[in-house]
Subunit: 253 residues, 2 copies
């Protein structure tokens, strides 16, 4: 696979994309995703793990909301990874992650994930390069286990935002009364470390065995569409179906 160089990938929607029709298509896809997630749940053969990573303001919560809005609460669960608790910190970095992986039939959203342990932790030099390499290897092994031992499909999205657009969105949070609850002055400080984040995001993306989807995220509507399309295509390939009763009264599967 060719190396991903983030600075060479556009963060913008294509010029010819038509917002109105894209928004409509996204809503249609979300409805289908909801229906297929119910089948996945009923069938209990596979599970789907969706990893959402991206800088502050890139729209992880927004994607979680709009793409998966039609998935029943019983089927879907979103887990946002924050600063580790004292108990979590006393264990290996994958301990709290493994606890939260999807069971067969489930769709699980990770808002941030185990990748933070080789992103923010590297940016702030809480871990050295050797530890980061050992963690990356552990991540690849861990994801392999989920795929091979539990029929998990792992979908990774990097929400690719420009630095300029991030600053606009952080400013929105400061001003918009419906977004102020998300505002944290420390985010502006963290934003100054942009170049370092990009470097370690590239290292994480290029070192992953299971590939990443790089999603242009300066426009919310286009970002949501790209993710929805990929989730839909993936579910379609899994081809879930409601198990039917056989003549003897037993389930087919």
């Amino acid at each position: 696979m060719p190396k991903v160089i983030l600075s060479k990938i556009s963060t913008k929607a294509p010029k010819n994309a038509d917002k109105k029709s894209v928004v409509k298509k996204t809503a249609e896809l979300a409805t289908k995703i909801g229906k297929m997630s119910e089948m996945l749940w009923a069938e209990k053969k596979h599970s789907l793990l969706v990893i959402l990573q991206g800088m502050d303001g890139s729209g992880k919560d927004g994607v979680a909301k709009s793409v998966f809005m039609a998935c029943p609460a019983l089927v879907i669960d979103a887990h946002a990874f924050k600063k580790p608790s004292e108990e979590e910190f006393a264990h290996d970095f994958l301990w709290r992650v493994h606890k939260n992986v999807p069971a067969k039939g489930q769709v699980k959203l990770f808002i941030r994930s185990h990748y933070e342990d080789i992103l923010i932790q590297r940016v702030h030099q809480w871990i050295d390069d050797k530890k980061a390499a050992s963690r990356l290897e552990a991540i690849n092994n861990f994801e392999k286990l989920l795929v091979e031992d539990n029929e998990t499909t792992i979908l990774k999205f990097y929400l690719h935002l420009s630095h300029e657009r991030q600053l606009e969105k952080l400013e929105e949070r400061r001003i918009d009364p419906e977004k102020q609850w998300k505002f944290n002055p420390a985010d502006f400080e963290e934003s100054k470390l942009w170049d370092k984040y990009m470097r370690y995001y590239e290292a994480a993306i290029n070192g992953s065995v299971i590939p990443w989807n790089i999603v242009p995220s300066d426009s919310r509507w286009y970002r949501n569409y790209i993710v929805a399309q990929k989730v839909y295509d993936t579910l379609k390939k899994l081809n879930p179906a409601f198990p039917l009763l056989l003549e003897n009264g037993k389930n087919k599967t």
Copy 2:
């Protein structure tokens, strides 16, 4: 490392071993283990994971009781792995194991473990050789993570019992009123699969990156002593110490 061939390793205590002095030494070791486990807990630098595997009647519970009797309940925890629950079964085989690994400062006993997933499951052909190979690789990766990311020391004991001695012990369970609670007629059925178990135990032991201790277990007193000595030596190497106050009133570590 030379390949382990279980049939070539004695299950008996050496002829010259003196039961009375061995029992006394074991009790002394257990006291020291208890003290050192408190230091491990206070220091919170390392964790110790003790894996006890062996056929029915080999004395996993007995070891857990006698070797660790002086460890405070706050420091030590024993987890017996049984048939997976429906929720556990809907996840990869290491999911329920990872949840139970020791935090820094803890001593954790696994009575049976993730190795059952390549033992009983192979004996009964619930998984094929390919799945077993993929699980063995996952086990080695998982144990590496615990060692590298959380300063965990993993001590593995195979309690090596002869088939004849097993049958005696199962019979004891049938007769002894204090042991009847452990009796399960199905154990005699499982015992008939002895040779298969030995074959897959050998495969597990020889495929493990972190080595196993093969403990002659026909005599309870000798078995307990060998385990106690190894646990003691391991804790001594970890060299835990109560963190002291410095002159500025802060802890040294």
